[in-house]
Symmetry: C2
Subunit: 219 residues, 2 copies
């Protein structure tokens, strides 16, 4: 009984997500769904990425949080369109919540829309929102065992950013093992090792993302 | 429709959790539910705590993970009873999963049972498992905005351990603001500032926990 209810919810969500995706495609818009544990650096990555894209790629952001508008305020300071979703308790975004933001955007004027999900390494990976691809961040402070313990998000993601590498000298961890453990769960992952604090490693991410936008707009 | 289903699940869970609690009480067993984001240090805290309690308090542990037995193996090395629950995808433990472990334990021989929940700052706070109290860990690497963005777990917890304080020199954060933000959400929180790596601050936690066990066994 419980399982069939969950299945219905997931199927209904997939239907809405496909409609969202069609609308994004009609507007030549590339969309990615950004996921991570709380505090891994999603908003910091977006702040850096918005600055790096300026002039080349017109970006918009949807911020998902259980409550508060702190993240949307940080993004708004960058001068790009941003809408905050407050889930009011729900632990992930779904297709319906994303659809509710559409009236706030002029999609024809955008190239790239980022959906910053609720900080949670589990549930967001189960719900499509209409994205072209999923991206995730893992902070080195979380430990190398996370891919094997929380495999779904690593499996669903196209790209993994390993963040806070500036802290490695002060941790008992191996960056090599982070890569190995992630690739064991998903051998197709594109991985970037970055620090959103110092900026280290981010140029490769910007270049990769610009190529995704170029390919997506042309498709 | 969706809301009423969720309500039914929560009510059914509360009923089972109360039954678990009665059984724990009958055995003079103190039980806490340990929650945090992935990688905040739940298992490291338990390893330290087991060593510190040895001789005084007889401990058992229930390990909750989506998959893998890595955490249970770490605890088993300490020579205390441990059972691993694999949720197979579910993002939290519930009363029923805890009940399924009972046949593996001799509760009359234990003073303290710790339920280490799935790493997730959202969902575990919604589900009672029969615990006397909830404890949570927040790593300083997660940032001071977490209490206001994920308030439920902070509100539900009796005690908060702020972990990884050894990393503070390398972060742009204020330990004072961590305390303030947590107390804004829950003024009754007992807070310990600790490093499970260096051991700093843990003696106060051990003393507090021993007092809880003493009071609980006497009740």
């Amino acid at each position: 009984m419980k399982i069939s209810v969950v299945k219905d919810i997931l199927e209904a969500n997939d239907r809405i997500a496909r409609e969202n995706r069609d609308l994004f495609d009609d507007n030549g818009l590339v969309v990615f769904n950004l996921m991570s544990s709380p505090g891994a650096g999603k908003t910091s990555l977006l702040e850096r990425t918005i600055d790096a894209m300026k002039g080349d790629v017109k970006m918009g952001v949807i911020e998902g949080d259980i409550q508060s508008t702190q993240d949307a305020e940080r993004i708004a300071e960058k001068g790009i369109p941003v809408v905050q979703i407050n889930t009011g308790g729900a632990c992930h975004l779904d297709g319906n919540m994303i659809r509710d933001t559409f009236k706030e955007f002029d999609f024809a004027a955008l190239d790239l829309l980022v959906v910053e999900n609720v900080g949670n390494l589990v549930c967001p990976a189960e719900f499509q929102v209409g994205e072209d691809f999923k991206a995730m961040i893992l902070s080195v402070t979380e430990g190398e065992d996370k891919p094997s313990k929380y495999p779904l998000m690593f499996r669903e993601s196209k790209v993994l950013l390993i963040n806070k590498i500036d802290l490695i000298p002060y941790l008992d961890i191996s960056l090599e093992r982070f890569r190995e453990e992630a690739l064991k769960v998903n051998p197709d992952l594109t991985i970037f090792e970055v620090s959103c604090k110092t900026g280290e490693g981010l140029d490769a991410w910007y270049a990769w993302l610009k190529a995704q936008v170029k390919a997506g707009s042309a498709a």
